[in-house]
Each structure stands twice: as C-alpha cells, then as structure tokens.
C-alpha cells in the first residue's frame, strides 16, 4: 500500500505519479513495481519542485537495481518535466512474496 504526502491542491498528481510509476516494469517478473508493492511512499514538495519516491527492491544485490532506480527517476521526470525526482531505497519493511498486492498476484498468476 503506497502512502502519499501531497499538498491538497496537487491531489490530482497522485493518479499521474502512480501511472508514471506503473510504466516501470520489473525485468524478470514482468509486472510493474506498483503492483508488486515495491513503492512505499510518494512525497511531492511543491516549493522545491521535487518528487520523492521511497521504494524497495526484491533483494539487496538485485542485478537490476540500477536500471529499476533510473527507470523510476526517468519516468517521473518524463511525466513532470518541471520537477526533480529523487528515489530513496529502503529495506524496511523488507519486500517478500507475501507483501505483493492482489493486483500484482493476479498478473503473476496470468489471470
């Protein structure tokens, strides 16, 4: 479940940010990082024009870590050209298969 810290008057951004993040696909699992439950928190700082994404990865030495993180950054900048993007990698709570949301599970099961 993603938590949001977005000013009320920018509330419409919430859907657009999530849509942008949904274009980032895990290269092995073939499912986007939102549906996999890897994005934990989204913060929009309208004063400094910055969007902060707090997320995790499937493992600490994921060989795809750099490509996933740069994809997240690029997807935000592509969607919000006036904003900067920052990605913060966190390991708590640890991601595992039990934390995958229902939407992600359905996709993984090919439903």
């Amino acid at each position: 479940m993603i938590t949001f810290d977005i000013p009320e008057f920018l509330f419409a951004m919430k859907v657009t940010v999530v849509d942008a993040l949904k274009t980032v696909i895990d290269p092995e699992l073939h499912v986007n990082i939102v549906d996999l439950g890897m994005v934990y928190h989204v913060k929009v700082d309208d004063i400094n024009k910055c969007i902060l994404i707090e997320m995790t990865l499937s493992s600490r030495n994921c060989p795809m870590s750099e490509s996933i993180l740069s994809a997240v950054k690029n997807s935000i900048i592509r969607t919000f050209p006036d904003y900067q993007a920052e990605v913060s990698l966190v390991w708590e709570p640890a991601w595992n298969y039990r934390t995958i949301p229902e939407a992600g599970l359905r996709k993984l099961r090919g439903l």
């Binding site: 274009t23 092995e28 030495n61 870590s65 994809a71 995958i100 099961r109």
Partner: protein, 430 residues
C-alpha cells in the same frame, strides 16, 4: 549498485566465457560426428576421453565459471572479488583444455599433456581463489555458499587427481591402475563439482525465477550431508577395496541426498506464484529427469560389474552420456537463455529505462533459434539413448547430426544476443 553497468568489465568476462563454451559445444558435436564407432567400445579410450573432457571442462565448467562470475553477487549478495583473477583463470583454462583434448584425441600422454594438465589445474586454482575471496567478504552465511565452496573444493581435488593421472602415464607412481582412479576422478567431478554446484546455484535461483516462497532449507542441508558422505565413502572404500557389495549402500546414501534436493525443487515448483513457465525454465526442470535416470542406472552398472559382465562398460557410457549430455547440457541450454539476456539487456538499456519504452530481457531471445535448438536437442536425446539401447548406428548418426544442429543454433543464438542492437520506442507513440 549494478553489477553489470554499461562499461563494466563483468559483461566482457561473462560473455567471453559463454562464447568460448559455445565454441567447445560445437567442437564436441563435431567430435561426436567423427567418433560414433568409439561409443560402442570401452569408455577408457582416446576419443571418449577427449569428448568427456571437452564436455566437462570446455562446455560445462567453462559456462559455469562465466555464469558464476555473473551470479555469485546475486546468490551471495556481495561483489565479485576480482575481474582480473577471472581473466587470469580463463587465460590458463582455454589453452589448457585445447591442448588436453588434443592430446587425448591423438593419445599423446607425454609432455604436452602434462603442460595441459598444469594449465587447467592453475586455471581452476585461480577460479577457486576468486570464489573463496568473494565468499570471505560476505556478511551473512547461507547454505548456498556451503554448496558452492564445497563444489570448488571437489573441483580442485578432481583436477588434482586428473593431473596426477596425466603424470602417471609417464612416470607410473600410482599404486593402482588407471581405471580405478578414473572412477574416483569421474565421480568427484560429477557428484562433487557439478552436482554440489548445481544444487547450490539452482536452490537459490529456481525459487527466484518461479517466484516461490518455499523456504525449507533443511532439505538442502540433508542433501548436502548425504551426498558428501556418500562421495567420501565411495572414494575411501573405492580406493581401498574397489567396487563391492558395500557400494550399493553408498549409492543409496547418495540417492537419498539427491531425493532431498529434488523434493525441495518439486515443492518450489508446486508453491510457485508465477504459473506460466517459459521454455528455458521447462528445459532446466526437465534436465533433472536425466539426472534421476543416470543415477538409477548406477545399481545396474554395479550389478553387472560385480558379475564381471562387459555390459557394465556399455551402461557406464550411457550413464556418462545421460549425466553430461542429458542433465548438464540441458540445464545449460535452458539457463543460458535465462541469464545471458540480462547482462545484454543491462548493457543496452540500463540508462534508458523510464525515458523511452525498452524491451524486456526475455524479448531479446530469438524464439525461432530457441525452438530449433530445443527440438534438435530433444531429437538428439531420443536418438542417442535409443541408438545406444538398440546398438543402432543409424540412430546414433541421427543423434550426432541433431547435436550438431543444436550446437550451431545455440552458438548462432549467442551471437545474435551479443550483437543485439538497442531498440526503443517513445512512450508518446504507444
């Protein structure tokens, strides 16, 4: 953070290993085409020895070395100790294997074979140093690293015994005959090196690829102790007394270990979240059928051996073929196209993701070549095993032709992957 960046030398060392292994696979297929008659005879003869070492070192171990350089950081969650050491290892390994195989093929057990043996042994020591130092700097311990380290130790012992046997051809210092040591050498390689390593790596990667949360690692621990105990007993008893009735018990202990591992893999497969299984994974899982088939032949080899029946020799060749060409080759053919597309993809798309739409690693695979290779290899296995059972030269010829097609399509696929051109699409156009 990434292990294989755009200019990262890991890409070069890994792809070089894959390419050279692909070339050795081609050579192996060519050797089989020209030595079908040899398969009907005893396994201790020049051409069979040349083919076995091409398969075990040039094909199997070469690709395992390359894959481990790529996968060790993923499995052990730490960086590879040294790329330079990896280059040093392959610099000794390739000329060593070429010379060794050539010396076996023409059977020249003199100075050149000794030089080849020393080169191969040095390459293995350098490889092992790289693995040991990588493990040493790892923070947490895991069962996977136990398997990998143990496999490396067995590889060293296998190579050392092989080296001693090479020198023994000229200086005759070993107390017992070569066939006696060949049996020990082969089983240290098969059960100690290949089986230990494949268990260690697959036990970590198969659940990752299948998305399974099955975590009963004690099954792996049982497998570890049973297989190693069986191998140690086999070596000790085999050295002192040769093959005897007691060897059935040793076999049973080893089989129990393998069963623990196969049950672990089965439970991972059963509890997987991802329901669709791609062709490379199907091949990888199917390869274990050949491991099981090979192991089930062993008591029959023992039975005929104890009866001094020559059929034991034929069964031994079939056993070796099932292990190297069935289990190990099928696993490599499957896993190559699970792992190689990733390093190629990272090289081309790591910095582009999110900016433009990029293909996924699995999109880099050429489906036509993959199906051609799979079909040809299936035909090889069917024709080879039935040709062996019915002593049919025609079927063996079909098998050799099919293996050549497999090796050609495999190598072509490697080239296609490594020459991949970056292809992207703007999000606006989608």
């Amino acid at each position: 953070m990434s292990t294989i960046g755009h200019n990262n030398p890991l890409y070069k060392i890994v792809s070089t290993h894959y390419l050279i292994a692909g070339l050795f696979f081609l050579v192996l297929a060519g050797m089989l085409l020209f030595s079908l008659e040899a398969l009907s005879g005893h396994y201790f003869q020049p051409k069979i020895l040349a083919m076995t070492h091409t398969a075990a070192l040039g094909w199997g171990s070469m690709i395992i070395f390359g894959a481990l350089y790529q996968l060790l950081p993923v499995i052990l969650e730490t960086k590879l100790y040294s790329i330079k050491l990896a280059w040093a290892s392959i610099t000794f390994f390739v000329p060593g294997i070429v010379l060794l195989v050539y010396c076996f093929w023409i059977f020249d057990p003199g100075m050149y074979m000794q030089i080849a043996g020393v080169l191969v042994f040095t390459a293995i020591i350098l490889f092992n140093l790289n693995v040991f130092f990588t493990v040493k700097y790892k923070k947490q311990e895991s069962i996977f690293q136990e398997f990998i380290i143990t496999a490396c130790l067995w590889l060293t012992l296998t190579a050392l015994l092989g080296l001693l046997m090479v020198f023994n051809f000229q200086y005759s210092f070993l107390q017992k005959d070569h066939l006696h040591f060949l049996r020990l050498h082969a089983h240290m390689g098969i059960a100690g090196w290949f089986l230990m390593l494949i268990i260690g790596v697959s036990a970590k990667l198969l659940p990752m690829f299948l998305i399974s949360e099955y975590e009963k690692k004690h099954l792996l621990l049982f497998a570890y102790y049973c297989i190693n105990a069986a191998l140690l007993l086999f070596l000790l008893d085999g050295y002192l007394h040769g093959i005897n009735g007691y060897t059935y018990f040793v076999w049973l202990l080893g089989v129990t270990g393998v069963c623990f591992y196969l049950f672990y893999i089965f439970r991972c497969f059963q509890s997987r979240i991802r329901k669709d299984v791609d062709l490379p994974m199907v091949k990888s899982l199917f390869s274990f059928v050949f491991l099981a088939a090979g192991i089930l032949i062993l008591p029959f080899i023992l039975y005929y051996h104890l009866k001094n029946d020559a059929f034991a020799v034929n069964l031994s060749t079939l056993y070796g073929s099932l292990i190297f060409m069935g289990w190990i080759s099928l696993l490599i053919l499957g896993q190559t196209f699970k792992t190689l597309p990733y390093i190629v993809w990272v090289k081309h798309y790591e910095q582009l993701t999110g900016k433009v739409k990029t293909p996924l690693p699995s999109d880099l695979i050429n489906k036509g070549l993959l199906y051609a290779q799979s079909f040809a290899f299936l035909l090889f296995l069917l024709a080879f095993i039935s040709g062996f059972l019915f002593s049919s030269f025609t079927l063996k010829s079909i098998a050799a032709g099919s293996l050549a097609v497999t090796a050609l399509s495999y190598f072509a696929h490697l080239i296609v992957l490594l020459l991949h051109q970056t292809k992207t699409e703007d999000y606006d156009h989608i």
